[in-house]
Symmetry: C2
Subunit: 131 residues, 2 copies
DNA sequence: GATGGGCCTTCCAGTAGATGGAGGGTCAAC
DNA sequence: GTTGACCCTCCATCTACTGGAAGGCCCATC
């Protein structure tokens, strides 16, 4: 199977698949003409990667998860630990974004949005730290 | 005022300040020896940048915001539009993160986290799209 | 006046995770 | 035989910095 077909079936653009090969996440065979030749196993890995990335795991975490997936002697504790660390990061990001959102919404609400130059948003941004 | 003092007062590392000068967000004067010489106005711009960045505005948006801030003929509607567009982006990111979080939390909850290789997290990641 | 430490400068490289494009090979169809 | 749609590699670009090397400046101390 060539790269565009693999991409279509795994839900990843060919560019991304080549990138994943570059960084050693997959290693598809090659045809005589040099074209990549994707097996079902390659496809499986690609789909795994797409899902793990969609959950926000970093590429390095994906590498570890793939390693665990293929390690029949793994313990689920290792996987769970990785996932929990990631969840903590997600929670931090969520808290930051929610804080941003609250401040932004508050400022937007306070701004008349008319033709006057008077603007609480700019006023807030230009506030000096101690006054 | 030299760069480390400016950084201390604006809450930004010297490296970041140099970077902001590189991309044209600030243009501090220079002393005879080539050192940057920050005015109160420069400090004000730096503090503005720090706050706008902390609210998640991109550097290009910060550039526009600074432009509006110094434009006495601005209308607050322009500022509000920028802020609203940004808020929409934040909301999209929040929705994505919350979706991630929910899935992750669900998977983590389902995983025993013991020494068995059996792991619902890996099972989910390796699911093929149609079964 | 030599030396040391702590600043400052510029420039280059690297980060994450792709994505875009140039330049060129391959292949099937018309 | 020549389009057009693929494929290949390699390099550049994006965001917003951050780290480090190599070297200059300034002040204090011996």
């Amino acid at each position: 199977m060539n790269i565009s077909e693999a991409g279509r079936r795994a839900g990843l653009p060919p560019k991304t698949i080549r990138f994943y090969e570059d960084i050693g996440l997959i290693a598809p065979a090659r045809m005589d003409n040099g074209y990549r030749d994707f097996s079902e196993e390659d496809l499986h890995r690609l789909a795994f990667l797409r899902r793990a990335r969609a959950l926000g795991f970093t590429v390095e975490e994906c590498r570890q998860l793939l390693g665990l997936y293929h390690d029949k002697t793994r313990s689920s504790a290792d996987v769970k630990r990785l996932a929990r660390e990631h969840l903590q990061r997600v929670d931090v990001q969520l808290a930051e974004l929610e804080q941003m959102r609250a401040t932004l919404a508050h400022l937007i609400d306070a701004c008349s949005g008319d033709q006057s130059p008077n603007c609480p948003i700019l006023a807030d941004l230009s506030q000096t730290p101690k006054g």
